[in-house]
């Protein structure tokens, strides 16, 4: 509670300094709009429907991408983590694909998928699969042999051990991977919108606002919303992790 209060005080002080700075003679007028102006712009934008559509379009693309990434990476990680032969066979491919920055593939994705939401979703999936995949594999490497032995000694079958021992024991690691992936997916979605000149989306909104006349208050408002979404996503996932995987932290298994 006290930490939260101190955090709020910090934010308030920062906003106050910002307000004073942008109203002073130190910066050209309109160059950095004060928080009060940005706040007013933000409220206006949220009441007017078009901006809300942009936000929804980005968040939706992000959610779909993250969902697909989880659906792909977790089962794949379970296979790679538990079948050494498959892991050896795919190692080279993985090592070659992983370092490609997804932002570098934006032009390729646009050529392949056009300017619609597909390009940003595909790119975000590509970028966010890795942390989930690697954390899942790592989790299986770290699986405690004695937990498995305990289940085996009670006559538990292999598939059931996978479902009732390996999977739950990997869950906190996987969750950490998902949190990283969520942040990456958001970055990739907004960057693709920025670079691809998409028709909808937060990135597109910021781009339009900054071009031409350069409405700084709109640019700042868009950026603040992007930051806020990122913050809420991380806070939400952190809550899920604390709520459902508290045991992982207790046993030192959460990274």
């Amino acid at each position: 509670m006290r930490a939260a209060f101190r955090g709020l005080v910090g934010v308030a002080v920062l906003l106050l300094l910002w307000e004073l700075l942008s109203n002073s003679d130190l910066v050209p007028p309109g160059y950095i709009p004060p928080p009060t102006v940005i706040g007013a712009t933000l409220v206006r934008l949220l009441l007017d429907g078009v901006f809300v559509y942009d936000v929804i379009a980005s968040v939706l693309a992000w959610a779909i991408a993250l969902g697909v990434a989880i659906a792909v990476a977790v089962p794949l990680g379970l296979v790679l983590g538990s079948v050494p032969a498959v892991r050896r066979a795919t190692r080279t491919v993985v090592e070659l694909m992983r370092p490609i920055p997804s932002v570098a593939m934006i032009p390729l994705a646009i050529l392949l998928f056009g300017g619609g939401p597909e390009a940003k979703i595909v790119l975000a999936v590509y970028a966010s699969v890795w942390p989930i995949l690697f954390n899942t594999i790592y989790a299986l490497d770290e699986l405690d042999e004695q937990l498995v032995d305990t289940a085996r000694a009670f006559g538990t079958s292999k598939p059931r051990i996978m479902a009732t021992v390996a999977l739950p024991s990997a869950a906190p690691f996987v969750m950490t991977g998902i949190r990283t992936a969520a942040a990456i997916a958001l970055i990739v979605v907004v960057s693709t919108e920025l670079l691809a000149g998409a028709t909808l989306g937060l990135g597109q909104f910021i781009l339009t606002a900054s071009s031409g006349g350069g409405r700084m208050d709109l640019v700042f408002a868009g950026t603040v919303v992007a930051g806020l979404i990122g913050y809420l996503v991380n806070a939400g996932l952190e809550w899920v992790q604390r709520r459902f995987f508290a045991w992982g932290a207790r046993t030192g298994e959460t990274v």
């Binding site: 405690d144 004695q146 937990l147 032995d149 305990t150 289940a151 085996r152 000694a153 009670f154 006559g155 538990t156 059931r160 009732t164 021992v165 739950p168 024991s169 869950a171 995987f245 045991w247 992982g248 207790r250 046993t251």
Partner: protein, 288 residues
């Protein structure tokens, strides 16, 4: 008394390292047999082959007359390291229910888990998570889980080696009580001589690696045991001395002991000294 476990010529090798060498012994129904042996002599390996976790290289095992292949149905294991054998994501109640999944109905599972938790004095702890309990309580949960399974044979691998002395005494007495009340057949492995004599109806003494049985001692103590008076009794002191002699040195005072304790003891002493020297040099290296 009928034979519950019959082990014949059981051996296990890791590559070319022989961990246990042609062990033969039996455990009667309702008996509590302690196996005592020095660290690294192959006690865990023996329990792992008995429980089917690893395949034995030689010999066979029969449980209530049936030849065992793979993991037997009605056998439970309690490991030393409770923190790594209880599932941290399950409550205590669900941990105890775990082995009963797909074997008995949900209602019966609940009932049996609750009952077993009561036996070990943990009725109120069902909704807690293992990491919210002390070490001794966690090991009691592991014992409750094994009992709820109603195994024909309960295998215990140094179950009390990781708790403090006071808790250890409590758990030893708890084990003696539940096994008397529920007629459980137990094979318990330990490196602690006192514990093997205090708990056992019989003590099997193992040699240094590769493990062979050097003695089979009947414990002539009354069934009802007490941490203070039993340990003071002449029988206890004599048995403890005999077991220690068999493990560490000297001959034996009892003619019923088979094998050659002299040779075994000499081998054991030499190996022990080598190990101490190795550890000392390791410590020395670590300090520099």
């Amino acid at each position: 008394m009928s034979t519950m476990l019959e082990v014949t010529d059981l051996g296990h090798r890791y590559g070319d390292h022989t961990a246990i060498d042609r062990l033969s012994f039996t455990v009667a129904a309702g008996e509590l047999v302690c196996i005592v042996g020095p660290s690294g002599c192959g006690k865990s390996t023996l329990l792992r082959t008995l429980s089917g976790l690893v395949a034995s290289t030689t010999g066979h095992v029969a449980l209530h007359g049936d030849e065992v292949r793979g993991v037997p149905d009605d056998l439970a294991v309690v490991f030393q390291d409770y923190s790594r054998s209880l599932f941290p994501w399950l409550t205590v109640q669900r941990n105890v229910e775990f082995p009963l999944k797909r074997k008995v109905s949900r209602a019966e599972r609940r009932a049996r888990a609750a009952e077993a938790l009561e036996w070990v004095g943990l009725s109120g702890a069902g909704a807690k998570y293992p990491w919210q309990l002390s070490g001794g309580m966690q090991q009691r949960v592991a014992i409750a889980r094994a009992l709820a399974y109603r195994p024909a044979l309960l295998l215990m691998d140094e179950p009390f080696a990781s708790v403090d002395a006071q808790t250890r005494f409590e758990l030893e007495d708890l084990l003696l009580r539940v096994r008397r009340e529920h007629d459980t057949t137990i094979l318990l492995v330990t490196h602690d001589i006192d514990e093997s004599v205090y708990l056992g109806d019989r003590v099997l003494v193992l040699s240094k690696s590769p493990a062979t049985i050097v003695a089979n001692l009947k414990v002539d103590l009354p069934a009802e045991r007490d941490q203070i008076t039993t340990r003071e009794s002449d029988t206890f002191v004599a048995l403890r001395a005999e077991t220690a002699r068999l493990l560490h040195g000297g001959g034996t005072v009892r003619p019923r002991v088979q094998a050659d304790p002299e040779g075994v003891a000499a081998r054991f002493l030499a190996a022990e000294r080598a190990e101490q020297a190795a550890q000392a040099s390791k410590r020395h290296a670590a300090q520099n």
